[in-house]
């Protein structure tokens, strides 16, 4: 088991390296640069800035320099927000994004999982159709439609919650972002859970458990659910990585100071260090959660441990 985890972990390092490399060169090959936007920037100042940030050196040297810095945990300064380092930006924003994304993830897994189980147990009955309808709606209506509609109804019409803002993490400020982040995930989890639970309930060993007179609780929870969890686990890994690193849509609509918005802004402004920082953070989250998925998988399914 430990060897299995270790091997998984070691194969993740080259993946991270490849991602960093591709992103670095992709970013640099794109036309434009961090200091081209500001019109009328004195060429001398521009040259100075580029020298300060080593942008005048050959690309491969910059690449090695960046890798070296990265190995030392140094993400560099942000080019477009010159008062901050990339690390500071993440230190400020990431906890907020994690808080919102984490709440949404947990809610989606718990509620979606329960809805899926209920639907599977009452297949083709009203409860099932209700879950399917919810899931279809949740996975069909895009976030950028749900979020403003939420604001329109609950903030502006009913005035239950503020329209937006972080409000130093007040509970009411989090409701909208968490719900809009959660809904599509909940829909997907419910659908997945329903499907895999139905399949699991149909499997031969469930028939055996029933033939042996095990209680319905044991059949459903101990035997059917455990097997049905596997697809959910594999889905939850990447989903967690995506949710915890912030959503640009939700953060921009609800005016949340998370890290989700950095990516697009930074890429458009050619804020190289910030883009790379975001890529690295997302990649690390992805790798870590995939690792957790692998471990959970092996915990749930003994067949995996021996492969």
């Amino acid at each position: 088991m430990l060897r299995y985890v270790l091997r998984r972990f070691l194969t993740a390092i080259p993946t991270l390296f490849v991602i960093v490399t591709i992103s670095f060169f992709l970013m640099r090959l794109a036309p434009g640069g961090p200091f081209n936007q500001e019109k009328g920037l004195n060429p001398v100042i521009k040259a100075n800035l580029e020298r300060v940030f080593h942008l005048d050196q050959p690309l491969w040297q910059q690449y090695l320099l960046y890798l070296n810095n990265l190995l030392h945990g140094n993400f560099g300064p942000s080019y477009n927000l010159p008062d901050f380092t990339v690390a500071e930006l993440f230190a400020d924003g990431l906890p907020i994004s994690i808080q919102l994304g984490g709440s949404a993830l947990v809610l989606a897994l718990v509620l979606g999982g329960m809805l899926g189980i209920v639907a599977a147990l009452y297949q083709n009955k009203p409860a099932d159709y209700a879950v399917i309808a919810t899931a279809t709606a949740g996975s069909t209506i895009p976030t950028f439609v749900i979020a403003p509609l939420f604001q329109l109804f609950f903030a502006l019409t009913l005035k239950w919650v503020p329209v937006g803002g972080w409000g130093d993490g007040a509970f009411v400020n989090k409701i909208g972002p968490v719900l809009t982040l959660m809904l599509p995930q909940l829909a997907i989890v419910a659908r997945l859970m329903r499907g895999s639970m139905i399949e699991s309930l149909r499997s031969h060993h469930i028939r055996t458990a029933r033939a042996l007179g095990l209680s319905e609780y044991s059949v459903v929870i101990k035997h059917a659910l455990r097997g049905a969890l596997l697809p959910i686990i594999s889905y939850a890994g990447p989903a967690a990585a995506a949710l915890l690193t912030g959503s640009i849509i939700v953060e921009s609509i609800f005016a949340i100071p998370g890290v989700g918005r950095y990516f697009v802004e930074a890429a458009l402004n050619r804020d190289y260090t910030l883009v790379m920082g975001t890529v690295v953070v997302i990649a690390i989250f992805t790798i870590v959660f995939n690792l957790i998925v692998d471990i959970l998988y092996a915990v749930v399914d003994p067949r995996v441990r021996y492969d």
């Binding site: 279809t136 950028f144 439609v145 979020a147 604001q151 609509i253």
Partner: protein, 372 residues
């Protein structure tokens, strides 16, 4: 023995015919199919029949709410009269509405040129202005003008453009991108997946490794980079979006190709001496078609969402062109004062996505009935 007279052969029920019958029995899918057809026709043909062009700006009608009756409304007339008179640099003495016409009386310190009627005509509210009466000293004049009746069933946007026309034009763009980019993704994905699956071995391993790596790149980053490379170009958007979404297709097709390769009927064809081309043509392609069709219908809504998402971020379709994402983005910025800007495009987008999803689900049930 050799002289068999051919009996007339009964027609068989192909799997396609079976699937079509099953699809026809699926009410949600059929309603969705008709709805989508209707939506397509309305978006393509509709803009020619709406009373406005999608770029025309009505300065007097910025942000008017949707209405089934004609503009101008009573309270707008006063404003429009004042505006028009102010532009002509005359003094407004008074106005009245009579027999469906407006009568405006103006005064001035200098004699009034009868050509001032053109200031009234220039307004979006009035037309056919003429002088009715001029005082002898020409310092006072009464003009009459017809109302220019305008219909804004969906209201207008911040610039005074007709939302109905813009929504339909946006629909054209969104649907076209959905279809074309979907097609791009399917073509790339099918080719890539089929090559990987049928080559097998090392080729397969390397090709799928590449897919894995592309998968692990942050999705948005990839899209943004493509947009940055291609510029905010309308046509290249198809390519960018399509180029991102082919990965799933490639995986599905590869899996199918691998399992098809092991099918007994493929082995049987090999034993008959059928060439690889013949196997591909007669055995593989027809059996791949089902999953590809299903995936394509589920891909189109994804593409539309992705396009809308990019447009929402301002990376996609650019003004004055429009897509549902662009309109929703404007709508989101204008609540609460102009809710219709959000509601109408959202409704169009969401119902279309629903229809596409129902069709996709219906197709999956029809082509692969085991799944339910």
């Amino acid at each position: 023995m050799t002289d068999v007279t051919l009996p007339s052969a009964a027609k068989g029920r192909s799997l396609w015919a079976d699937a079509w019958n099953r699809l026809k029995a699926n009410k949600a899918a059929m309603v969705s199919l008709w709805y989508l057809l209707f939506m397509g026709i309305v978006c393509i043909v509709g803009p020619w029949f709406t009373p406005h062009d999608f770029t025309t700006i009505y300065q007097d009608y910025t942000r008017v709410p949707p209405s089934l009756s004609a503009y101008p409304k009573a309270d707008a007339i006063d404003l429009a009269v004042k505006d028009a008179v102010q532009r002509s640099r005359l003094e407004l003495a008074g106005w009245e509405e009579k027999d469906g016409k407006v009568y405006i009386t103006v005064t001035s310190a200098k004699p009034i040129d009868p050509r001032v009627t053109r200031y009234i005509d220039r307004s979006d509210v009035f037309e056919g202005a003429q002088v009715v009466e001029t005082s002898d000293d020409k310092l006072k004049m009464t003009m009459s003008a017809d109302f220019k009746h305008e219909y804004f069933f969906f209201g207008t946007d911040n610039n005074g453009r007709d939302l109905l026309t813009r929504t339909l034009i946006a629909g054209r763009v969104s649907l076209a991108i959905g279809l074309l980019a979907g097609l791009v993704a399917v073509v790339i994905g099918v080719l890539y997946g089929a090559v990987a699956g049928f080559s097998g071995g090392k080729t397969d391993e390397v090709m799928m490794r590449i897919v894995d790596i592309l998968y692990s790149l942050p999705f948005i980053f990839f899209v943004i980079m493509l947009v940055v490379f291609f510029g905010r170009n309308f046509v290249l958007m198809f390519l960018a979006v399509g180029a991102v979404l082919w990965l799933d297709m490639a995986r599905i097709v590869r899996g199918q190709a691998l399992s098809l390769k092991r099918q007994e009927y493929v082995q049987a064809a090999e034993a008959l001496g059928v060439s690889p081309g013949g196997i591909l043509l007669r055995h593989v392609v027809p059996n791949l078609l089902g999953p590809v069709v299903i995936y394509m219908t589920l891909l189109v809504p994804q593409v539309i969402i992705l396009e809308s998402f990019l447009s929402f971020l301002g990376l996609g379709v650019q003004e004055p062109m429009s897509s549902w994402g662009v309109l929703i983005s404007q709508g989101a910025k204008n609540i609460p004062s102009a809710t219709w800007l959000l509601i109408f495009p959202s409704f169009f987008l969401t119902t279309t996505l629903f229809a596409l999803n129902f069709i996709g689900d219906g197709l999956r049930d029809a082509l692969d009935p085991k799944d339910r």
